[in-house]
């Protein structure tokens, strides 16, 4: 474990140097990240412009949901994982996984933590300011309990998303042509910006697969809104641990079928 922390520290440094070298790339990423953050707020403003509450969530609750989405998924997840999963698809499609399998450390670690997109941290910072503003405008206090529970639930929420992406993208080992599967994952992430009840109203049973995604943002947001229950907490933590375990097992199983692309 200590060795992996040491490697990750090195990766943090290397990625920081990459930012210094490719400043234009950093600025472009930063701009688009902030623009998508603004978009998520504008989209919610448009959708709620004709109603004060939807699926039992008030307009304020929905704006808090968007803020938490920008902190957890738009900010932290995009900073730590999204770019790695972009690479994940190409590594498998181009048959470059052999090189990683030969490296003297865990392949899942190498595929998940190689890149860090530092510009996402700016979005986290802006999203925190936005969420605090919405909460204070609605006179909802941020207590120590709500802050700590938000932090813990946010961690498990990210674990759910990471495991869900890993599980899905592992399928590329069988279907390397579907490297754009990641686009579908970006689209499914968006469902977490809305109340979980929305999924039930979709009337399409296969979409129930997306149920864990609806918990990622809504449960931590409920912690900030002081409406989280013990069952919400247990459900999120249980699903997170199950999915993480499943993703690890499924990856090891899929590796048996990896055939590489070399001749």
């Amino acid at each position: 474990m200590k060795r992996y922390f040491s490697i990750y520290r090195r990766l943090l440094m290397l990625n920081y140097h990459r930012v210094l070298i490719h400043k234009a790339d950093f600025l472009t990423g930063l701009t688009s990240s902030i623009l998508w953050g603004i978009f998520s707020i504008v989209a919610m403003y448009i959708l709620t412009s004709r109603s004060n509450s939807v699926f039992g969530w008030s307009r304020t609750d929905l704006f808090v949901l968007v803020g938490v989405f920008n902190i957890l998924i738009g900010g932290i997840y995009r900073t730590l994982f999204s770019r790695n999963f972009d690479r994940f698809t190409h590594v498998i499609q181009r048959g470059e996984l052999d090189g990683l399998l030969l490296k003297p450390f865990n392949t899942q670690f190498a595929l998940s933590f190689w890149y860090i997109s530092y510009y996402g941290l700016v979005r986290v910072f802006l999203a925190i300011i936005y969420t605090t503003f919405v909460l204070s405008a609605a006179h909802i206090a941020i207590t120590v309990v709500s802050f700590v529970s938000f932090f813990i639930l946010g961690f498990f929420g990210l674990m759910v998303l990471y495991s869900f992406w890993y599980l899905t993208l592992t399928c590329i080992i069988w279907f390397p042509d579907l490297y754009n599967l990641i686009e579908l994952l970006y689209a499914t992430d968006n469902i977490s910006r809305y109340p979980p009840q929305l999924l039930g109203a979709m009337k399409f049973a296969p979409f129930l697969v997306l149920f864990p995604i609806t918990l990622i943002v809504s449960v931590p947001a409920k912690a900030l809104l002081h409406t989280v229950t013990l069952s919400d907490l247990l459900l999120l933590v249980g699903i997170a641990l199950c999915l993480l375990y499943l993703s690890k097992i499924f990856w090891q199983f899929a590796l048996r079928y990896y055939t590489s692309a070399s001749g």
């Binding site: 472009t28 701009t31 688009s32 448009i46 959708l47 699926f55 579908l184 689209a187 399409f204």
Partner: protein, 264 residues
């Protein structure tokens, strides 16, 4: 004839990699269903929203899936990545086809495939949602709607080519591409139909070209536009197309002067 042969070759290519366009269509389906379901929640409180009912709005989002698959293309991605960044433009310039029509031929089979897949999915969704795809069309309005769709296709294609050509000066278009995607999502009618946008956003949507690429073709197919409105939409589309055409020609001529490549 040679364009037809080229088209058939590219169509074979699309068909052999059919999983990829299907994934893109699935993203349109998910987005459309998210927005539709959210609006259904709003409709539980209001039976009518600015001439829209639950059934017409459901039909709108299902047709939107087909429109997004067919009309919202992304030629700027391969142009930027392959032609400009990797320098494959030089090879394309040597081919006995105009660059615009080469790219058009590559894009068209993808759009047809995605459009047909989107139509099949939309049709299946009508059973799941117990909804009808509503088309209140006469022969004449159907003809006008077809012209609106055709012009929308050319508008989108030319606009995206222009976006890609900016890379000849900047060598980086990702920021502009993201900005365009956001503007398109808001103002083309992806989130809600344009006449449901609040206040100033609705007015801006009518000024920008994006609603003429997605929103108007969808409502034209639904038969929600009077003949007079259809003519005025076609008129505005032609104006936009002329403007985009002039910009494309100017940028192409000047951009090629900027372009540098290296070979062996």
């Amino acid at each position: 004839m040679r364009y037809l042969r080229l088209f058939s070759l590219y169509f074979q290519n699309v068909f052999s990699h059919r999983g990829r366009p299907l994934v893109y269509v699935s993203t349109y389906v998910i987005s459309a269903l998210i927005y539709l379901t959210f609006l259904q929640g709003v409709f539980h409180q209001n039976a009518n929203l600015n001439t829209w009912t639950l059934s017409t709005v459901t039909s709108y989002y299902f047709i939107l899936i087909v429109a997004a698959g067919t009309l919202m293309m992304h030629p700027e991605v391969p142009i930027f990545r392959d032609d400009i960044e990797k320098g494959e433009l030089a090879g394309r310039l040597l081919k006995p086809f105009s660059y615009y029509w080469q790219r058009f031929n590559i894009e068209l089979p993808v759009r047809i495939f995605q459009g047909v897949s989107g139509a099949v999915i939309a049709y299946l969704l009508t059973f799941i949602y117990h909804a009808n795809l509503q088309f209140h069309l006469t022969f004449f309005t159907a003809l006008l709607a077809f012209i609106v769709i055709l012009l929308a296709y050319f508008m989108c294609f030319t606009f995206k080519i222009i976006l890609a050509l900016t890379a000849l000066w900047t060598t980086e278009i990702r920021g502009a591409q993201e900005l365009t995607d956001i503007l398109v999502t808001i103002f083309a009618g992806y989130i809600v139909p344009v006449n449901l946008l609040p206040g100033i956003l609705e007015k801006v949507a009518y000024i920008l070209p994006f609603s003429y690429i997605i929103y108007y073709p969808v409502v034209a197919v639904q038969g929600r536009l009077a003949i007079q409105t259809l003519f005025s939409v076609i008129g505005i589309q032609i104006v936009w197309l002329c403007i985009l055409g002039v910009i494309f020609h100017l940028m192409w001529r000047k951009g090629l002067m900027q372009y540098s490549d290296f070979g062996q």
